[in-house]
């Protein structure tokens, strides 16, 4: 009898142990099951071209420049540390849409060739016909894919319409939401029962747009007495001057004046988006749509003594807003570093799309879901590049522990910034932190090697215009 009891207790202990393990596994799996999954949900990507994260209140800015975007952020996931892979439109958006780095997807400049005799515009469809875009993936999964853009850098002429059933560029280049939102709403009203993937894009904040009603100075908190007037011609002039001289000779007040103009433009685009979003909700579409708000790059107003974007890889250009709102009310703030290339695999996983092995291997980003469900708590290193107009060739690595390393190929210049102590990237620590600089350089070059780009060609600069025929030579002092 005793022996039997002993035997039973032994068996029970073993079974108990095994049961414990099993319960643990099931628990783990349950947590892993995606609470964010939104199969067959619509996807709406709203792009505020040139909008810096750091000029929005929900990213810490002290002024109320974007009440609509930020109230949506409260209802969804706010990514405070989102980094794009290119610092201007043409390469950057394609990184979002392919989950590949610019030197991999190949759309790195407006022109492939620019000379007296021959001008060849870059068309993604010709450059990389075998690369699949996000729109194509949605289309292959039965979605209707539509795009309403501000033209220019995301225009169909560059192949951005690849995979879209409908792709309407605004009639005037660099159009804001006043151009792209109305046809988008029109289409939604007529097609709201269709499963859609929509790209709604605005150039409203970009330099080429003036404030319609005139600059009111609503965000200008002092009496500006300087010589600048604002306006698109002035921004273009200052941009070119900065490129030629390497730095501008403006005062802090001049820069504050221009930032107030930028803030007001953000405000107006945000208002226009707010109206669009209201109508969207009226149609009931917010109940089954994943909304993504993002930007392709920021704009510099003197943070590094120049204007505009594309020519550097500093945070004012790379740190963009990224907000993902679900039909359910799941929300959160993710401070870990994420990349533009992570968006594509995320949306694919969220909506349960099927992709082939080739597409899976094409994507260099990783789904953001583990970060949103807090299974992952460390962000990802961000590699970015710019070959802006062939005027400069730079590549950077921004690490999860807050270091930025930038390499400029035409003069082998290296920069190292400790972002935690020096978020404005003013103090180059390349000589003070030799070990960190060395290790980050080797890491950076691993990314470059992986893209397969021939760095020999990066030592030379010339000119491939972006704005009409403007080609500004660097003045070497």
């Amino acid at each position: 009898m005793k022996k039997l009891v002993l035997f039973l207790i032994l068996i029970i202990s073993i079974l108990g142990g095994l049961l414990g393990i099993r319960i643990y596994e099931i628990y783990e799996k349950r947590v892993k099951i995606n609470p964010l999954q939104c199969k067959d949900c619509n996807v709406l990507i709203v792009a505020f071209d040139a909008e810096q994260a750091r000029h929005l209140p929900c990213f810490g800015y002290p002024k109320q420049t974007a009440p609509n975007q930020c109230s949506i952020a409260k209802e969804g996931f706010l990514f405070t540390n989102a980094i794009v892979q290119g610092s201007w439109t043409i390469p950057s958006f394609m990184s979002y849409f392919t989950s590949m780095y610019p030197s991999e997807h190949g759309l790195i400049n407006k022109f492939i060739k620019y000379s007296e005799e021959e001008k060849i515009i870059s068309n993604f469809k010709n450059i990389s016909p075998e690369i699949k875009t996000l729109a194509e993936v949605f289309k292959e999964n039965g979605y209707t894919t539509v795009g309403f853009t501000g033209d220019a850098g995301v225009g169909a002429q560059f192949g951005y319409n690849k995979g879209f059933d409908i792709y309407i560029d605004s009639p005037q280049p660099f159009g804001g939401f006043e151009n792209s939102a109305p046809p988008a709403l029109e289409w939604l009203k007529q097609n709201k029962d269709e499963k859609f993937f929509m790209f709604l894009h605005s150039y409203g904040v970009h330099g080429q747009n003036d404030i319609e009603e005139g600059f009111t100075g609503m965000f200008l908190d002092f009496d500006y007495k300087g010589p600048l007037k604002g306006g698109k011609e002035e921004q273009a002039r200052l941009r070119e001057e900065g490129l030629a001289k390497g730095r501008l000779d403006l005062t802090e007040e001049d820069y504050k004046f221009w930032r107030a103009i930028y803030d007001e433009k953000i405000y107006y685009e945000d208002q226009k988006f707010g109206k669009f979003w209201q109508e969207f909700k009226t149609l009931g579409l917010d109940k089954n749509t994943i909304l993504v708000i993002l930007a392709d790059h920021g704009t510099e107003f003197g943070e590094h003594q120049r204007f505009d974007h594309g020519m550097t890889l500093y945070d004012e250009l790379l740190n963009v807003p990224l907000i993902i709102k679900f039909p359910s009310s799941i929300e959160g703030i993710i401070k870990d570093q994420v990349r533009a290339i992570d968006l594509m695999p995320t949306l694919i996983e969220l909506t349960g799309l099927k992709i082939d092995e080739k597409t899976k291997n094409q994507m260099k980003g990783k789904s953001l879901i583990p970060l949103m469900t807090r299974q992952e708590k460390i962000g990802r290193n961000a590699f970015s590049e710019t070959d802006y107009r062939n005027y400069t060739h730079k590549k950077s690595l921004r690490t999860t522990d807050g270091w930025k390393f930038i390499y400029t190929f035409e003069n082998d210049e290296k920069e190292l910034y400790n972002l935690q102590e020096d978020p404005k990237e003013t103090k180059n620590l390349i000589l003070e932190e030799p070990q960190k600089a060395y290790e980050l350089e080797q890491e950076l070059f691993k990314y470059i090697e992986a893209t397969g780009q021939d760095t020999n060609k990066l030592k030379e600069t010339d000119c491939l215009p972006v704005y009409g025929e403007i080609c500004t030579e660097k003045i070497n002092e």
Partner: protein, 545 residues
Amino acid sequence: MLYKKYFLLFAVIFLSLFGLIFWLGKKGTTEFTKEEKPNLILISVDSLRSDHVSSYGYYRQTTPNIDNLAKEGILFKNYITQSYLTPISEMALHTGMYPSLSGLTSFETVLPENILTLAQILKIYNYRTAAFGNSPEFLVYPALEESFSRKFDIYNFKDEGEWVRYRNKTLNQNEIFNFLKEGKEPFFLWLAIGSVHSPYDKFPRVFGDLNYQGPLKDYFLDWGLGGILPWIFNNVLYKTEKGEIIEKINLNKEDIQYVIDRYDDGIFATDGWIGNFLKELKKRGLDRNTIIVLASEHGEELGEHGYIHHYDIFDSTIKTPLIIKNPKLNKKNVVIENQVQSIDILPTILDFLNIPKTHQIEGSSLVSLISDQASKNFNEYVFTERVPLWEVGLIARIDSEGKVTDEREPITTPELITSLEQYFESTIKKQAAFYNWDALQLIKSDSFLLQQDVAIRTNEWKLIYRKSRDFQEKFSWWRVLSNDDQQMKDYELYNLALDPQEKENVIDTYPVIAENLKEELEPFLKNIKERKINVPIRKTLQEYF
């Protein structure tokens, strides 16, 4: 009842333990402790051919101490250098890059700032760094001093009087050990030993006929400044006076053997010094946590092609000893047959020291080879470059108009002068126009020196592409000396298994092998052509020649 109680307890303990083990398993591996980095000693022995080292199979006991080192470490049977010239070959080792890709291709080119040397990398990781040497090149040429001395705390190449002879001044062990023993951080010591290099006749007689009385007895066995080595070709000694050949003395086998004996005497003496150094190192306990790499940056021709010196890229000159001792590896008396090359040493060292490798490195780490995990095709092809240096030395004597300027020129026959001037007009000036440079600048430039021969080698075959063929046909030193009108071919193929001395060009006998090697050479040549490097040049008087 008692049993029940115990077994209930047992079950509870059992389950708890089970749970604990399970939970611990999920935690993952513990982090490893940071160890102190090991020391590194690099011993560069100039002009030592591997087939004159006993442990490589030489019949003489020339290197008892180097052999001992090999017994404590790994000997690489087929180690190939990237050039036949000391500083060019050595810099390939210090940077892990082929000469044409680092830019340091001559005695006058400065290594570009953005290319890191071994000393610079170790300095980033807080090593103390010192270089001691009696190889004059590293001091006497400003470009080389600038390139090699970067981030060495001590750079001690003493210039003692007649600098060309300071190769035989032995290094001061006291100074070296003062550096080694001082300081907490790990050290990197580079010993550049020049004593095997010519002049050969400065060390005690050990080998061969100690009573040699032949015609070479009273001559100074050196390359330059009164030495006779440049004047020996195909067993003839050409006596000259003011550039004119006044007498030809026929030499026999014993005479050449005398030269070889003196060369071996030098090896023996050098080996002795190295042995004393290593013994002292051991005595002071400094070898325990120290990696030792002994390598020779090039060898020496000893008459196989008629001349004596390092001049071309035959195995006599590019196949040299490499011995690596790493106490942590527990690899003793190991011999590796796979072909390896100079540019492999830097990545290997960085792997040993757990330092990330620079992206510029072209070589492959030997760690996988050492641990038996490399594929059979490891380093299937290696490449060596040959600048036409001696010939350029000749051309450098002419000015921008094409006139020969320097009367110290050993041979200044009117025919040679005319020939040089014509070549300048027809070829150099044209090339200069192509590059948009003035002709004299071109001669001294990297690009002209890029007109260089390249060899691709396996353990069985070597193919040499003679890019400078027409130049060598006209101005190669010994052709001019001996009036040798023999034409060269664009390609040379040597069957290393049957013809290790590379005396017979079999390019027409093995067309398939030749084609295959040419194909494998293509990407290497293309890479050099496309590479854009900005290489500063420091012009110097080439007194040495």
